[in-house]
């Protein structure tokens, strides 16, 4: 019988337990405990299920990273609920002072800023609350333009972020302006979005942010991407493959992910940004719009939670690439 050593001149290593899949990609070994020949491969990114939220909701603020995320507020009925995700489970935390939906936020699970949205009664708000890891405190400073459905620099620290775009009532219109938070007050930046829009995906920081997709009121789905350099917005020649709004998003101007949303009906389409173009990658398992947006530092790591519909507690985690250990079957 031929042997690996005989064919290749090398021996297959014997291990008592499998190594970590990511460290073993491309390697072959013999597991002496399970008496199995194994190898590890690097595969495409994909979404996996995680434990559900405690409070079902959609259209809420979500920030942080996949192993330390914060979700706050949401619909229906202007929720005040706050939950923290540790990479496995959601835990209830102290509530916001004012219930709101269609809000956004930025920061981390221990220091975050929540802003804007729609309050009980249906009015737009510029209300701002800050999270210290335990409690929310209402800031005396409001947005200059009260609005809802805006996007945010989700990876910015809680003391230095921007929000952009959105929608406001009286009269109903999509918004193009950008406002910056310095930890104390909001100031309007001179650079406006080239395309006013609501419910787009966004991410990044106060000096390097992006927006993609969205809707121009009342009904014009967008696929355009714009990039913020700290001063002005420029329109990228690259567009989303699927025009849509109400998307989830993660990442920065050089590596980002847009997922879900609605293109007339809820979609599970996921697209990844490499700083130059959008590429369609593995779908969510469940089509959904109105997920919380903003958790994840890049296009390789994201959290999709909630749904502005039913079921609305579902959570999925995105990882790219996916490393898998396989067993060699010999017949």
């Amino acid at each position: 019988m031929a042997t690996i050593k005989g064919i290749k001149g090398i021996k297959v290593q014997s291990l008592t337990s499998d190594p970590t899949a990511s460290e073993a990609a491309g390697q072959l070994w013999y597991n002496t405990t399970s008496s199995a020949l194994k190898y590890a491969i690097e595969g495409a990114g994909s979404w996996a299920s995680s434990n559900p939220m405690n409070q079902g909701r959609g259209q809420f603020g979500l920030t942080g990273i996949v192993t330390a995320a914060l979700a706050f507020a949401g619909s229906p009925a202007q929720k005040t609920n706050t939950e923290e995700y540790d990479g496995t489970s959601w835990t209830n935390k102290n509530a916001l002072n004012t219930g709101v939906q269609y809000n956004v936020g930025f920061g981390t699970s221990t220091a975050a800023t929540n802003v804007g949205g729609v309050i009980l009664g249906g009015n737009d708000t510029g209300n701002t609350e800050t999270w210290d890891g335990t409690n929310w405190t209402t800031s005396p400073a409001d947005l200059n333009t009260a609005r809802q459905k805006m996007s945010a620099s989700n990876q910015a620290p809680s003391s230095a972020g921007i929000i952009f775009g959105g929608y406001k009532q009286s009269p109903n219109t999509s918004v193009n302006n950008t406002e910056e938070w310095n930890g104390t007050s909001w100031s309007e930046k001179s650079g406006d979005l080239n395309t006013a829009r609501e419910a787009g995906g966004g991410g990044g920081t106060a000096t390097a942010a992006f927006i993609a997709g969205g809707n121009i009121y009342p009904s014009s789905l967008q696929n355009a991407t714009e990039l913020w350099d700290g001063t002005s917005w420029s329109t990228s020649p690259a567009t989303l493959n699927t025009s849509r709004q109400g998307v989830g998003s993660s990442g920065t101007t050089t590596s980002a992910l847009i997922y879900g949303g609605t293109d007339g009906s809820p979609t599970k389409v996921t697209e990844q940004w490499d700083g130059t173009s959008w590429t369609e990658v593995g779908d969510l398992a469940t089509a959904a719009e109105g997920k919380g947006k903003g958790c994840g530092v890049s296009g390789d790591s994201a959290l999709a939670a909630g749904f502005d519909g039913s079921p609305n507690t579902i959570t999925e985690e995105w990882t790219n690439p996916v490393f898998t250990i396989k067993t060699v079957t010999v017949s």
């Binding site: 595969g43 495409a44 990114g45 994909s46 979404w47 996996a48 299920s49 995680s50 434990n51 559900p52 229906p76 496995t88 489970s89 249906g122 609605t262 007339g264 009906s265 599970k268 593995g282 779908d283 398992a285 469940t286 502005d308 519909g309 039913s310 079921p311 579902i314 959570t315 990882t319 996916v322 898998t324």
Partner: protein
């Protein structure tokens, strides 16, 4: 047949993994209905989650019923809600 159908309750972490998503087609729907790629990995997953096998017609009927419930909910809402949310529509499973 490209896909097979089952109902199963999503228990959260580990219900479907990254590696499983790369091994077979999987699509979740209302009513705990799952459209599953009809290959060895897909069948193995149905067994893992103790899925209850359904024909496509049975799965479609469950989804249709849930959509009808959502439509009734939407119809009962005020104009503000209806302006913010599209009325759910029936669709055909893959």
């Amino acid at each position: 047949m490209a896909n097979t159908y089952c109902t199963a309750i999503n228990w959260g972490k580990g219900f479907f993994t990254h590696s499983e998503r790369n091994a077979f087609y999987l699509e979740g729907h209302v009513g705990d209905v799952w459209v599953v790629g009809n290959n060895a990995a897909g069948i193995s997953w149905i067994n893992k989650v103790s899925g209850t096998a359904k024909t496509k017609a049975e799965a479609q009927a469950i989804v249709d019923g849930k959509v009808e419930e959502s439509q009734a909910h939407w119809d009962a809402q005020d104009a503000d809600y209806q302006a913010r949310h599209a009325r759910p529509e029936k669709y055909t499973l893959a």
